[in-house]
């Protein structure tokens, strides 16, 4: 991490923390002003988040796709961007920040655990298909996260009737609108998902010599794609609506999260960017200096 990136990263974390706290307070105490402030905090956080991404690009000299840290950093930015764009279009959806802001925070925490070391863009990664693959993965996962957040809001909204929470959620759009918005987000994500899988297969052909190897990440990704396909068919074909679709959108996001994080935890995937990364000269033999966090200046 460069000093600018380091500082911007932590400012982003604090902004999202503030956003989470404000959104929670706004929801619990039914204060629209606090929810608005949460949106502003997250918006400010997103601006600094994009500065972090920019600093990363300036530091490494390539797009942030060469390591898990970079992917998660960018992924969190896309999730927040999508959510805030949705919020800008419908201000009344501010309670969804209760889900999105901690989610982005968790992503940033995970990014930090992945050691934000200096990475080179290796021959293996420097491929047009890889950029297309990862770009659409961001789009798909961002949209799915928004859909899950809308699912959470839907569940809160539908549960609230008759309880004390009802008054606090008065400003939210009606459940049917939330349901439609969730469907829209999933459709958008599904388009990205299809492109992501197909371009990933083409890239895999370049990289590993085979379009499809049933690698755990590939299988999980296909599974989540099928699950979202199932979601769409259940809604369009069988006319399912409401709470069960909200639950399904949240469950489907879990498979996406597992495809991204879980498979690496359990090992045995060739999608580990560390395996793909061309090591710095001598790094494998332990000759090259270890990259590390910046020393205090």
């Amino acid at each position: 991490m460069s000093p600018v990136e380091y500082a911007a990263f932590w400012i982003t974390v604090f902004a999202y923390m503030l956003g989470t706290a404000l959104a929670l307070c706004g929801l619990v105490f039914a204060r629209a002003r606090l929810l608005r402030a949460a949106g502003l905090a997250c918006g400010g956080g997103l601006v600094v988040h994009l500065v972090t991404v920019g600093a990363r690009i300036a530091y490494t000299g390539h797009l942030p796709v060469a390591s898990r840290y970079e992917n998660v950093l960018m992924g969190a930015a896309v999730v927040m961007l999508f959510s805030l764009v949705t919020l800008l279009r419908r201000r009344s959806l501010a309670p969804m920040l209760v889900f999105v802001a901690p989610f982005a925070l968790l992503m940033l925490g995970y990014a930090l655990l992945e050691q934000p070391r200096f990475t080179t863009m290796s021959l293996v990664l420097d491929n047009l298909w890889m950029f297309v693959h990862i770009f659409f993965a961001w789009l798909a996962y961002g949209a799915y996260s928004v859909a899950a957040a809308l699912g959470v809001v839907y569940l809160m909204r539908s549960r609230a009737s008759g309880s004390g929470l009802a008054a606090r959620l008065q400003g939210l759009p009606p459940p049917q609108v939330l349901d439609d918005l969730m469907f829209r987000a999933i459709l958008f994500g599904f388009v990205g998902h299809v492109v992501m899988i197909s371009t990933g297969a083409i890239w895999a052909r370049d990289l590993w010599g085979s379009y499809w190897t049933w690698d755990p990440v590939e299988t999980w990704s296909l599974l989540s794609g099928l699950l979202y396909g199932l979601w769409i068919h259940l809604r369009v074909g069988l006319g399912w609506r409401g709470r069960r679709m909200a639950w399904l959108s949240i469950a489907a996001l879990l498979t996406v999260i597992f495809a991204f994080w879980g498979t690496n935890l359990f090992g045995g995937t060739s999608h580990s960017l560390d395996d793909l990364r061309l090591k710095a000269p001598g790094e494998e033999a332990g000759l090259a200096p270890e990259p590390s966090l910046p020393e205090p200046r």
């Binding site: 491929n127 609108v177 829209r184 099928l226």
Partner: protein
Amino acid sequence: MRASNSAAWLQRPLAWLASGRLTVWLLAILVLLLAAHLFVPQQGEVSARVVERWIEHKGIAGRLARALGLTDVLHAPLFAGTCALLFLNLVCCMIRRLRATLGLFRFPQQAPQPAASWLRCELPATDLDEARIAALLHGAGYRALVASGSVYGLRGRFSIAGHWLFHLGLLALLVVGSWLALTPAPFRGTVGVGEGEAFDLHTARFLSSRGPVGPELPGLRFQIEQLEIQTEGTQVRRFDGRILTPEGDVVHFGVNRPFRRAPYQVLVHGFGRMAGWVITNERGRMIGGAWVKLVPFPLERSEDFSLGAEDSSVHVRLYPDYEREAGEDRSRSHALRNPRFAARVVWRGETVHDGLLAPEQRVTLQPGLAFFFLPEIRAYGLLEVIQERGQRSVFACLAVMILGLLVRYGRLRKEILVQRVGESLRVFGHGETFESLFEEEFGRLGSALARAGARPADRGGAA
């Protein structure tokens, strides 16, 4: 009579095969099978003993999993059957819905009757005539039809074609995917091979770390024997011979398959260098660095980097002809194998180094605190295997699918019907898929009609 009976007999299974409910069930089964593939140890991925131990450990559940083929999901009849049925389901759905789809393309010649599920609102006394209503609808993106006192607006009539296109692309992708999986195709792609490194592509990290590529079926498994690149000129040596090739030439060599040796073509792009600079602290920890990307030889380029402050920079340049300049008679291949970099390092306004910098040589920027050096410099051969049509096919299918989704959901089918009842207007609307969002749009359209048709007295009142 017999023919009509057989048609009736066929109708039920065909209707079952073309049902959306079957699609849902098949998708759900596929999701479950893939989940089983991830959680149940699979034959071919782990040793048979591990699978047996797992089955023993799980008892009845393990035996049931084996009976269902869950210990080898991808080769299980259940998986193949589900995929085949899904394929049939897709085909039947498309055929069955084709006529209805084509019917929706037509713009009606007369205004249809609104169904009970259509949204409706009533506008009070208004001066709006049909032409103005049609113009308003036209402005909102509808194609309008004025017929027998009512105005009918329709937009997105080709939307349903997207549904059909997407599934056509999906079918094509399934066919292409099966064809690609079953055709032993050569490896296509680029591989960076370091100087002096020997690569067994099959087990190298560029390939799947999980074992053989593709399912382990005779005729599908392929293995590339060790391919060795040497930088003695641009020389490629294969396992059963030696080929000398200049840059840009195509090299043919063999791929070892169980039953045959297929021609394999490699385009040698030439060799390049990857170089970079690194700054470390006294503990040898990297506190900065940058890499020059792989560039083709000869490297006539140089790179300037900032060292984090305005008055500190480094200018790195490959110096291929240093020996010739020094009067030594060295070959070009020697220069290729032994590159030298010249570096001019400016640290806090002072030039601390200007000249050749050997890979292990360090420049002290700040005694005991920071050092600058060029780590090991390696040469990479970039090989590209050519002649592969699979990517284009996959891409074409993908393009059809994306186009389908865009057509389907980019402009959804929406209908508006405005009927005059006495002095007032009755407005009906129907939008598919996103009903509640259409409801909002319908409300806006109703307001626009009301505003446009408000009589002067009403306008005054409104003001």
